[in-house]
Symmetry: D3
């Protein structure tokens, strides 16, 4: 289904293998998902993407589940099936309850509908909202 | 700038005025932003949109700032200038610090870039991510 | 505001002028909107775009207002301010009433919200919907 | 393929069952499509979505096929496969002929192309189009 | 999986057959991909689309691979799986190396991320960028 | 117009100033555009974005204008006005002629239209296109 064959561990270049090792160590799991197996064809891009992801999703002033919900919202709005699946799974792994998922969906649907209305009406931005 | 003139308080129908009264009471502020002033041309749509928004963004299992960050993420990904401005302002009003805004932006940028890569590569969804 | 200066009638090449003449004759109006004045820098692209538009929006099995509402729906969903403005104006010129505009907005908002939910949930297409 | 298992009739909560009953009564058909079976995990969201859909797509000043074509246009432009399939099927059920489908596709393609050009050229909105 | 059955050569109308003949002659290959087999239900739309594609992707001032990379970028950003697959295959057929594909992906990811940031921040266009 | 005030040189933190110095040295120009002046509120995000951009848009196997055209295509398809303006200006600075711009626009319009058709028809990917 991909535009490039997904690489098995045995097919990795040394540079790609080092990134996979870090993914496994950081996540405390042997599982490496298909996204990285496709990116592994270009070790430099693989490394740059993973390093940045690790920094961005690491500890900070927003809690991990909030970050993951933002990631889900972007992924769904971008109509990316792989991303919707993988980040919904990640949010569940980070503790998202079924009630929280329902509320997330309600906010997502609300935002999508008011976005469409604001764009249709081409409403001028209120002065109060400008920095 | 809008496709319909924005309605002043004096131009509202009784049905629209009742919605504006509820917006003011709910928010504890006299300010009613332009989005509602454009929607006020259609009181039924105005009322349905506001009632649903009040329910969705009200108390629940996700805290108010998290809901607002999801709203922002959808609005920005949908390329809606009005929505980006108004919901960034709303998040600040709900306590988003400058550091949190920076982290939000970093997650947004990260998600946008991995979404593009996953779509480009047309990666097959891992079985582990399916419900 | 454009990436190319908008061309006045006096600046048109003979090929672009011929297209402008046809736009005016077809629409029965002297007004030529800015979209065509930007495209006029490339007379071949201007001509191909206009000729196809004239065919597509001309008489057929869908009535003119229905076609314009579809055009509006695409334009708004694509987050194109120029297109939202110009095709909303065109729909009004073709007889869209304020009540119809309100219903259009309600359908647009409904579709945007269920689209977001279906993408979030990654629902499998029912066999009944496949051709 | 979904992020949540699709619920069979036997798995429904009483609140979800009541919504399914209304879907069946309103449509005069026993078939309930997968979208509702995924939403049924959150009966409140299921009910709010269905109630609003029933109102919006019910009788009004736009005929049912026109509303469905607008719904299709939004769904396709939002790149939602489930939505494209289900609303194309719905339009056929509401009488869309093959000739009308062809014209719809031509308008969709035209709008998509001029939207891209207007966004590329960043054309300023004509004063004539402002409300 | 399509909303219309894909047409085999034996099912084509004479008008559609003539377009298929031209596709085969132009490409020097007997293979006609599914996109054209779906469009063939509407011979006028099929012909208009193919004729324009042949002109646009034919010889000009941009080399064929550059045009194909622009086509890929649009297709991926539009979240169109069919288009991403078919135009990535076309770029490979036109000589895109694995290193070039990697660089293309890096530019795509970069653009997606800065686009998201610029939209989030609603940055004012610099005067230096206006025509 | 932004969600944050644009920072003048005098307002920069030492970390942000160092990035601005590198932007100026790399581009051989004193001009620093507004995008960076908004990002400068978060020096870590500013630095990460600029460093990656410098690497990605630097020398490689695709020529600089091709990379810029891909960047433009993504930016326009993402409906980002700032990005469309700034990257069209960048492409002109890298030598894009008016004829090349016209061809770029034609490819962009073509891709946008066939993308819409492929999504509408939900065409199954040909086996020949799978890796």
């Amino acid at each position: 289904m991909a535009t490039l064959p997904l690489l098995d561990d045995a097919d990795l270049s040394p540079e790609a293998r080092a990134v996979f090792d870090d993914i496994r160590a950081t996540r405390g799991s042997d599982f490496v998902n298909n996204f990285w197996r496709a990116l592994a064809h270009d070790p430099a891009l693989l490394k740059a993407t993973w390093e940045r992801l690790k920094t961005v999703m690491g500890p900070g002033t927003l809690d991990p589940l909030t970050k993951e919900l933002v990631y889900m919202a972007v992924s769904i709005t971008n109509s990316c099936p792989y991303c919707a699946h993988s980040h919904t799974a990640a949010a569940k792994a980070k503790g998202m309850t079924e009630a929280q998922y329902g509320e997330f969906l309600a906010v997502l649907a609300m935002a999508s509908q008011t976005n469409a209305l604001a764009t249709a009406l081409q409403v001028k931005v209120d002065d109060a909202f400008l920095a």
